[in-house]
């Protein structure tokens, strides 16, 4: 854009004036003011939430981890009875609790406490925690977690992210925490009052690469000092515990446990185009001191892969929601004397949504099954992420297009899915499966 000249300056001024006049003439001043007030209310800049006391426990031998699932030896697309049961329970929760409140949760940028509590009662967090640590899962549960995230996102992706955010932290502790870290933090996640918690990897940088982080962890005499900014952190305002990805001098990226009350830690609201119900915010770390015991010793790349897989699972659920919504719409909508679904231009789009979604599902399931069986899964996750990121976005796009102008207005949920599905291609961290 060229520099503003005198004419440009005059036009800009006129525009401001005209805008103001229009507001008054239409009596919209009050509405606009109310909008500004609402945005401020939803917005915040604050120190981190006051966290409960996580009583430190000394290292007491080997950490407890779920075993790898044995290789069943045959190609199989049938979930276990247990998985089918969990899936249908979560699906019911999604249809009864998440979908009816999705529009409001989007507006207010929050997931209702009652929804979060019910999700906790469903035991979605317990599935990944071994029995010895108070959970339900003695085997890795990547496929089950994928089925849970998929079923939840069929209701609403934003609220699903909010509900699943604490599981990301507990799963990280289960997979990579030592016995002291597990004993200190996991009891809270198997209790009645599961803390808000978040896995913070993403940063507000262009061409973000989770293997090349701007957030730094510098070694200090007692541990590390963390400095940097994390973005798209779910439930940022209320999270009591964070697992933060930071680059350690000379060692590359690693994960750190950071309590929300730490000095130098602050959060601010950062609502985005979609996923608004997740209460996304930025996490600022300004020389936040953590002890050396805050370092999670684990393969960092596995964390990135399992999070990407989680986003694939979310894309499956929301893409299915799009398909389920457009089918009755195009069958009922009449144009030129017959349902628009009788036209190939419409019908073929529906066919392609169906085909691509089925492919996304199989590619995601394959990666998940390999992960839980302890097989290499980097390639499979990369392909699932590429496919779900690209095709998920297309499905959101086609969903709105098939509804035409009705897809563009908030009377229908499709515009929200369009916004939510865009995140799948680039989101890092946040949930773990």
């Amino acid at each position: 854009m060229g520099k503003r000249n005198a004419m440009g300056a005059a036009l800009a001024g006129l525009n401001r004036l005209a805008g103001a006049a229009v507001l008054d003439r239409l009596g919209l001043r009050k509405t606009v003011e109310r909008g500004v007030y609402q945005a401020t209310k939803a917005g915040f800049t604050a120190a981190g939430a006051v966290s409960r006391t996580f009583a430190g426990v000394a290292n007491s031998g080997a950490a407890d981890r779920p075993r790898a699932v044995p290789d069943p030896g045959l190609f199989d697309l049938t979930p276990t009875d247990e998985q089918a049961m969990i899936k249908s329970t979560v699906a019911e929760f999604a249809v009864e609790r998440l979908r009816p409140r999705a529009a409001e949760a989007n507006e207010t940028c929050t997931t209702p406490d009652e929804v979060l509590r019910t999700a906790g009662e469903l035991g979605v967090t317990l599935v990944g925690i071994p029995e010895s640590l108070g959970g339900l899962g003695n085997e890795r549960s990547t496929v089950t977690n994928v089925l849970i995230a998929e079923a939840m996102a069929h209701g609403d992706m934003g609220q699903a992210v909010a509900c699943l955010a604490p599981s990301a932290v507990s799963t990280a502790l289960v997979l990579w925490g030592d016995s002291a870290q597990q004993a200190t933090y996991l009891p809270a996640f198997v209790g009645d009052n599961i803390p808000a918690a978040a896995l913070a990897v993403q940063e507000p940088t262009v061409l973000f690469d989770p293997f090349s982080l701007s957030t730094k962890a510098y070694r200090t005499s007692g541990g590390f000092a963390l400095t940097g900014v994390k973005a798209m952190v779910p439930r940022a305002a209320t999270a009591e515990l964070f697992v933060v990805a930071a680059d350690v001098d000379g060692r590359g990226p690693a994960l750190f446990i950071v309590e929300s009350g730490s000095a130098g830690l602050s959060v601010e609201s950062d609502p985005g185009m979609g996923l608004r119900a997740a209460g996304m915010g930025r996490l600022r770390l300004d020389r936040v001191n953590v002890p050396s015991s805050a370092l999670l010793e684990g393969p960092y790349e596995d964390c990135i892969r399992l999070a990407r897989l989680g986003w694939c699972a979310l894309a499956l659920g929301t893409s299915q929601a799009v398909l389920d919504y457009v089918i009755p719409y195009v069958n009922n909508r009449v144009a030129f004397g017959e349902p628009i679904s009788h036209r190939q231009g419409v019908a073929f789009k529906v066919a392609d949504i169906g085909t691509e979604l089925e492919g996304m599902r199989l590619v995601t399931y394959r990666a998940a099954a390999r992960a839980e069986q302890g097989k290499p899964f980097a390639r499979e996750v990369a392909l699932a992420r590429k496919l779900c990121g690209d095709q998920g976005m297309h499905i959101g796009d086609d969903g709105v297009q098939l509804l035409g102008g009705h897809g563009f207005v908030k009377e229908h949920p499709v515009e929200r899915w369009y916004r939510d599905l865009r995140a799948v291609a680039f989101a890092e961290g946040t949930i773990l499966v």
Binding site: F75, D76, L207, V330, G354, E358, Y365, A369, A382, L383
Partner: protein, 399 residues
């Protein structure tokens, strides 16, 4: 329990098929692309080997698409359909045109295996059967075929013209689709096994093609061809039948998807090798947008390939487990057909003059790929089938 790995019990079969593709097909790929209509002699030996495999284990070859009676057991099965699909993928990694020229592995064999009665099955064992549906004026709309079959005592008399008959000139017999009464629509369409040397069954010409030139594509004229009624596949009643004939496609479409998957994998492997020589590694962890464009392109192609691959495995697995799979078979064919064409053409963009040259097989694969989005139901026919299923529409509503 959800697991999408190829079972270990098929590892030997896959390895054998791969060896055959590498040692018999690849070395002859260019030769038979250049000398179209020359019979690939080398395949006789390979076919004998495959017959042996088929006799010992069953299920190798297109006859493996026959479905067993419904099993009482609800136990998960990985059987003949999956095995055949995996074998086809490996062979087409070698050469699609040569696979289509494999003696006794024609689509007619798949049709016989799918719908023949036990007597017919026994009679045609060991025969090479081609398939004749398309006519000069009728392609996708197979219900509109004009070739007629008129009853005459114990025989039917066939008249008409058939084109695009794969391996038609080489096969022992051809499964010909004809109508008993054009006014009765598709339920009057029946398929007949016609021996190649039956009087009046004349070869008009062999087509010259864009790709799969190792495979012969025949044009036949049928003039008063007398076929015994025992050669009619399925029920002779006009009230039933077309659905039965179409059922063949549920079995063969995943196989055409398998061809596309094998061919596309060959192109991806060769392109990856060439990219590596240009110092472009493919990184599965770093985001595509931080990698060189060719690497990001490669990831996109491989992701589509993975999707097509698993869709085909799903369709075959469902057939093995006696689940209706029309929808999934069409999804596999739709995704694999368009993906193979996109991948091979895009690989040429990445490899430039190197891949475009006849010194590389990449240009050949790009030509071969296109037919896989056309035969056994074009891309658009697959989309129609998928859309009708998803939208719950009849062919009268969604045309």
């Amino acid at each position: 329990m959800i697991n999408l790995e190829v079972p270990a019990k098929f590892a030997r079969l896959v390895a054998q098929a791969h060896q055959a593709a590498a040692e018999f097909f690849r070395p002859n790929s260019r030769k038979y692309d250049e000398s179209e209509h020359t019979y690939p002699r080398e395949l006789d030996l390979l076919a004998a080997l495959l017959d042996g495999l088929s006799a010992s284990g069953g299920g190798a070859g297109t006859s493996g698409v026959r479905r067993g009676s419904t099993s009482d057991s609800t136990a998960n099965r990985n059987g003949a359909n999956l095995r055949l699909l995996l074998g086809t993928i490996e062979m087409c990694w070698g050469d699609v045109g040569l696979l289509l020229s494999m003696p006794r592995q024609g689509l007619g064999n798949a049709a016989i295996a799918s719908v023949a009665n036990d007597e017919q099955l026994a009679r045609y064992r060991g025969k090479w059967a081609a398939m004749a549906i398309t006519e000069p004026d009728t392609g996708s709309d197979s219900a509109a075929i004009r070739t007629t079959a008129t009853p005459d005592g114990d025989h039917y008399v066939l008249n008409g013209e058939k084109i695009f008959v794969t391996a038609g000139a080489r096969a022992d017999c051809v499964v010909v689709w004809a109508t008993l009464d054009r006014s009765l629509g598709k339920s009057a369409i029946k398929s007949f096994v016609v021996d190649r040397d039956t009087p009046g069954f004349d070869l008009v010409r062999l087509e010259k093609k864009l790709g799969i030139r190792a495979s012969d594509t025949a044009h036949f004229r049928l003039t008063n061809v007398r076929v015994h009624r025992d050669n009619l596949l399925g029920s002779p009643e006009v009230t039933t039948g077309f659905a039965g004939a179409m059922q063949t496609f549920d079995n063969t479409r995943p196989l055409v998807a398998a061809m596309a998957i094998g061919l596309a994998r060959a192109a991806l492997e060769e392109t990856r090798r060439l990219l590596t020589t240009a110092n472009i590694p493919i990184d599965y962890d770093r985001p595509p947008h931080t990698q060189p464009t060719p690497a990001a392109d490669f990831l996109t192609m491989e992701a589509d390939w993975e999707s097509a691959h698993l869709l085909a495995l799903q369709a075959a697995w469902m057939a093995d487990n006696h689940q209706p799979n029309s929808l999934q078979a069409s999804m596999a064919k739709s995704k694999a057909g368009r993906t193979a064409t996109e991948i091979t053409l895009r690989c040429l963009a990445l490899t430039g003059a190197l891949g475009y040259s006849e010194t590389s097989l990449l240009e050949k694969w790009s030509r071969d790929a296109k037919i896989l989005d056309i035969f056994e139901g074009t891309q658009q026919i697959q989309q129609l089938i998928i859309a009708r299923r998803l939208l719950n529409k009849t062919s009268a509503q969604l045309k």
